[in-house]
């Protein structure tokens, strides 16, 4: 085995990543540039968008001295989005593979996956990546099979011939009467089992595909509708596909800029980030205390905490509201509102996470603590240097679940931002905005395509997070139970 070749292939792959990165950055920048160029009809009097005219507004854009029609613009943006959707996951997967693949896992499949990647590179106009990957493919082939590129091409035709021969020459049939009874039954059983296995496999996959379709179709429909124009979205005979140049990316721009979803997303991110930081800190500290530190009444205190989990969260809402309103801390309903405080502070701790992490901490062997003590490590340092890194998958799960629940929070933010009229509106979170924004034309028709575009904007980040970290999420849901 030639480790030099393995190393060379890996280094080349690393080098290719640079160009992948450049390509991805280029896609993003171009996307932002073109998306930024999009225009929507504006009422000169009020300086607001005229929703009625949105679907009849076909401006001609100018880019580097070329005139681009509305349809071409949509086409360009669609292609850029497709490039991003393909190349980013590809990059992440390749990166993971590079880090984990050992010299023993290098086989012909790696070469073929390099080839596929190269083709994708070519299609997404990343020519350098294409060339490097093809080169890399030959290195891998040499590593696995020992063929130099020339030999490889020469070996193709004999290999095909060989395969063809194998398929065409029939297997010699053995007379079954030659077997004795035991062998015969054994063969029969093996055959029967094989058939059952194949059937089971088929059924399983059929079922999985079916379920996947049930889940995927609504998402597909959502994205599709969000890109249609109003007439298309409300049509009674809807299209199942639309061409790339008929994708109205302007919908997203209107939602982000004119319907203020940019602001709402920023608000939500702010709340999610701070409440998650708070939750993670309080969870780690209290889980550590309940798992490791011996103090009087520990079990009792923990039992009381666990018992509060049985009270439905809605019951707290009124008391919590009184606490933050002008009769309590005065965070809302006064002259001097701090909506963010009111939305974040009640959610900087979570009992079920504490329970979850405590169980995890308890599984870390006591002897590690003793070893750390002997090594002169303080409690706090032990927590940060040993416990937290070991429990980091769980902590990560907690983080993500908490981000999810902040992202989905509805009732509490709705109540808080409902106080103070227009001022409160500036602090809407996306869930409130989705519910309460008026996607209405002046003549009273609801712009469903815009509404769906807003939903897409809100859902897609979650989907990305989910796909990126599904291992951790399933882990957490499996153990702590769903909480919404």
């Amino acid at each position: 085995m030639n480790r030099e070749l393995f190393k060379k292939s890996n280094n080349l792959e690393k080098f290719t990543f640079i160009f992948d990165m450049i390509a991805i950055i280029a896609y993003i920048v171009l996307f932002l540039v073109f998306f930024g160029m999009l225009q929507y009809p504006i009422d000169p009097a009020t300086n607001e968008v005229i929703l009625e005219e949105l679907e009849f507004f076909f401006p001609v854009y100018e880019f580097l001295g070329n005139n681009i029609t509305y349809g071409q613009m949509n086409l360009i943006i669609s292609i850029l989005v497709i490039f991003m959707v393909v190349s980013v996951p590809m990059f992440v997967i390749n990166y993971k593979k590079l880090r984990t693949r050992t010299v023993y896992e290098m086989d012909s499949y790696v070469a073929s996956s390099k080839f596929t990647n190269a083709i994708i590179n070519l299609l997404s106009l990343n020519i350098v990546g294409f060339v490097l990957r093809i080169w890399n493919m030959f290195i891998v082939i040499e590593f696995v099979k020992g063929y130099k590129p020339k030999d490889f091409f020469k070996s193709i035709i004999p290999a095909i011939k060989d395969k063809y021969k194998k398929i065409t020459t029939k297997k010699e049939k053995i007379d079954e009467s030659d077997y004795d009874d035991a062998t015969y039954t054994l063969k029969k059983n093996i055959r029967r089992q094989n058939i059952a296995y194949v059937m089971r496999l088929l059924l399983t996959y059929f079922f999985l595909v079916f379920m996947a379709l049930i889940i995927i179709i609504p998402f597909y429909w959502m994205i599709l509708t969000s890109l249609k124009d109003f007439t298309g979205a409300v049509s009674t005979s809807p299209d199942f596909f639309i061409g790339l140049s008929r994708m109205n990316w302007i919908n997203f721009k209107v939602v982000l800029e004119e319907l203020n979803f940019g602001l709402y997303i920023r608000n939500t991110v702010t709340v999610a980030v701070f409440s998650t930081i708070g939750t993670v800190i309080t969870t780690i500290l209290s889980a550590y205390a309940f798992a490791r530190i011996e103090f009087k009444g520990r079990e009792l205190l923990f039992t009381i905490l666990i018992m509060t989990m049985m009270i439905p969260g809605e019951l707290y809402i009124i008391t919590n509201f009184i606490t933050v309103s002008k009769n309590g801390l005065g965070w809302v309903g006064t002259d001097n509102n701090s909506y963010f405080l009111a939305m974040i502070i009640p959610f900087v701790t979570n009992i079920s996470f504490i329970f979850f992490l405590r169980q995890n901490f308890k599984q870390i062997p006591e002897s590690l603590y003793k070893a750390a003590r002997v090594d002169g490590c303080s409690d706090f340092k032990y927590l940060t240097r040993v416990m937290v890194p070991i429990a980091s998958p769980t902590i990560f799960t907690i983080t993500i679940l908490n981000v999810f629940s902040s992202w989905n929070a509805y009732i509490w933010p709705r109540i808080i931002t409902g106080v103070g009229g227009e001022e409160g509106k500036q602090f809407w979170l996306i869930s409130n905005a989705l519910r309460d924004t008026a996607f209405v034309q002046d003549n009273g028709r609801v712009m469903y395509n815009l509404q769906i575009a807003a939903s897409t904007l809100v859902t897609v980040p979650l989907l990305i997070v989910f796909f990126a970290f599904r291992k951790y999420i399933m882990n957490g849901i499996g153990r702590s139970g769903t909480k919404g």
Binding site: S367, K370, A371, D375, C377, V386, I390, S392
Partner: protein, 357 residues
């Protein structure tokens, strides 16, 4: 550095209020630079003793001295000890390098010196080429060496090892045993080595302590303990195959075996005793010898150089290991004898050995 335990006692109180004396009034002095084996059956208080020396458990009574200093109330990190746990307790998320470096991070060792020390220590225990691996990527023996390196890198005054070889296979165990002995000799650190494997303790220690239910049974050099056990427990605990023990009477100064007069013990009073005789201390006697006993052979096995004979003494099955040439396959009976000082007579109630000169 000398290590001295004075009347060390540890009593655990359960939630129900019952007391359990894990270590009972243990007093031993471990000379500087020696390796002492702490031996005893499972649950006899070995780990407890070790953790008290380490400072991880507070003794209920008694004192611990390192040299002249009373360290009974000192925090573990200030005692300058290195501890290797029964399960190694390596930090699973850190590389070998970081594991060994960890204790130094908590001391004020200059960075360059720390790195040098980690490298030297890794070389000493023979894991120099594995510094960037995680513990999960090491074999049991390698993990154990990392644990030893981590314990030694602080340049401790005392090294404490809690059954460090219990997870290894027989061959690796032998090898690591020698390795530990070598490292201990090279560094000259006073070492306490806990084990429940008597053979291991015998082969590695300069001196051994045997504990039973937290009570010290005997403290002496291994061979001495083997040859002159202080009580029945020690005699039974040491040796493989185990010692033969059975009831026997002394009548008129004679030790009676199978109603035959075996040996004369003038100093021993006439009474019933527990007798201990190691299989390998039996010999086929010379024709003219006085002190012998005729036994009926029940079974005979050849094990290489030696021959194992099974027979009965005072109604008890006894094994003897004798020279192959001295007994024939067809022999129905054989005359056996044993050196006088290798016949151990124990008190029937206390189990204490009775000196018979």
């Amino acid at each position: 550095m000398e290590l001295r335990l004075e009347n060390l006692t540890k009593i655990f109180t359960n939630k129900t209020g019952t007391d359990l004396t894990a270590v009972d009034d243990l007093s031993i002095t471990i000379e500087s630079g020696t390796l002492v084996g702490l031996l005893g059956p499972s649950g006899c208080g070995k780990s407890t003793t070790l953790f008290m020396i380490a400072g991880l458990l507070k003794p209920t009574r008694g004192k611990i001295f390192f040299g002249e200093d009373d360290v009974t109330r000192l925090a573990p990190e200030k005692r300058g000890i290195g501890l290797v746990f029964q399960n190694y307790a390596l930090y699973p998320h850190m590389t070998v390098y970081k594991n060994i470096m960890f204790p130094l991070e908590n001391m004020d060792v200059p960075r360059d010196e720390a790195i040098q020390r980690v490298k030297d220590m890794a070389e000493l225990v023979g894991i120099g080429s594995m510094l960037d691996r995680k513990p999960a990527q090491l074999s049991g023996g390698q993990q154990q060496r990392v644990a030893i390196a981590r314990a030694l890198v602080k340049k401790p005054r005392v090294l404490l090892l809690d059954e460090p070889l219990s997870n290894l296979d027989a061959r690796l165990r032998l090898q690591m045993r020698e390795e530990i002995k070598r490292i201990q000799r090279e560094t000259g650190i006073t070492t306490v080595f806990v084990t429940h494997d008597q053979e291991e303790a015998m082969s590695i220690s300069d001196k051994m302590v045997v504990l039973d239910f937290g009570v010290q049974q005997q403290y002496s050099a291994p061979q001495e303990m083997y040859n002159t056990p202080a009580n029945l427990f020690v005699a039974k605990f040491l040796g493989n195959p185990p010692i033969n023990s059975f009831e026997a009477e002394v009548k008129g100064g004679f030790l009676m075996l199978n109603d035959q007069k075996f040996m004369k013990f003038k100093e021993v009073k006439d009474a019933s005793y527990i007798l201990g005789m190691r299989p390998e201390h039996f010999k086929v006697s010379e024709k003219d010898s006085e002190e012998k006993i005729k036994v009926d052979i029940k079974d005979i096995f050849h094990v290489g150089r030696d021959t194992m004979i099974h027979f009965e003494l005072n109604g008890q099955n006894i094994r003897a290991l004798v020279d192959s040439d001295s007994v024939g396959d067809k022999d129905k009976t054989v005359d056996l004898t044993c050196k006088r000082k290798r016949v151990y007579i124990f008190d029937k109630d206390t189990g204490k050995v009775i000196n018979h000169g």
